[in-house]
């Protein structure tokens, strides 16, 4: 299991560092898949499969499509400017603070999957909860997804704006 978590960090680092955007997107898909595997290993089967289906199957593929559509006409080399170094430094300081907090907190040193057999997260229990206690959030999420879908289609539809001629490359 530590190997899985290490691979997850490596894939995430690759998604951040790869200079080619398509490679970075594929590394992101790999990181999502490994994150789903980590959910599975932690006993959250339903969340793991949703993670793989939604994030690997939809989000990463969507990002890859947009990368291919918005292929830049001129390649800009992303040289780290002063602001970028400041941002990286701030992020590293925050990460160090988080690691310090985790290390200094007295956490349960036992293995996580101890009580897994006693309380499995079955899909049946999750479904019962979804149409029971979580019914209103579920409906709101459906509304949000519909609104986001309609809004995204409206924003990205292929139509010349007012006073703008049809581009030759579309």
């Amino acid at each position: 299991m530590p190997a899985l978590l290490l691979l997850l960090l490596l894939a995430a680092a690759a998604a951040v560092c790869f200079p080619n955007l398509i490679h970075a997107t594929l590394a992101l898909a790999l990181a999502f898949a490994l994150l789903g595997a980590a959910f599975l290993a932690l006993g959250a089967e339903f969340a793991g499969f949703v993670q793989i289906l939604v994030n690997v199957g939809a989000v990463a593929v969507l990002i890859a499509f947009v990368v291919l559509i918005t292929r830049p006409e001129r390649i800009t080399i992303d040289l780290p400017s002063g602001a970028a170094w400041t941002g990286a430094l701030a992020a590293l300081v925050l990460g160090a603070t988080l690691v310090f907090c985790v290390v200094r907190t007295p956490l349960d040193p036992g293995p996580l999957m101890r009580g897994a057999a006693a309380a499995p997260s079955s899909a049946k229990a999750i479904g019962t909860d979804l149409i029971g206690a979580y019914l209103l959030p579920l409906q709101l999420l459906g509304l949000l997804l519909t609104a986001a879908l309609v809004g995204a289609a409206l924003l990205a539809r292929d139509e010349p704006g007012p006073g703008e001629s049809e581009g030759p490359d579309r």
Partner: protein
């Protein structure tokens, strides 16, 4: 796999996402960073749910499910905005985008 090990990995994942979001100027790379940070938060939820006293209460799993759904909506809208800005101003670099009005 102990709780602190998962939490440390989550810290690393969040830091990597924050580095991506703060250092890059390409809009899609910033989105990738945001996705990584959301994944780190979800990993934390699952770990604390598993370490909690009552894993039969599915609060952690439910939070992760809703977070994944909301993150999908956010990504779809963000990518649509990238497409729109790219079509209007031929630019995907957030430092060079100057105009936002219709």
């Amino acid at each position: 796999m102990t709780l602190s090990m998962v939490l440390l990995v989550s810290c690393g994942l969040f830091t990597l996402g924050l580095i991506a979001a703060l250092t890059h100027t390409h809009a899609i790379r910033i989105l990738i960073g945001i996705e990584l940070m959301l994944g780190a938060a979800n990993l934390n939820f699952i770990a604390f749910w598993r370490a909690g006293v009552d894993p039969g209460a599915l609060v952690g799993v439910m939070t992760v499910l809703f977070a994944i759904g909301i993150a999908a909506a956010e990504t779809a809208l963000g990518l649509a905005l990238v497409l729109l800005v790219r079509r209007r101003s031929r630019e995907v670099d957030v430092d060079r985008i100057r105009e936002l009005n219709g």
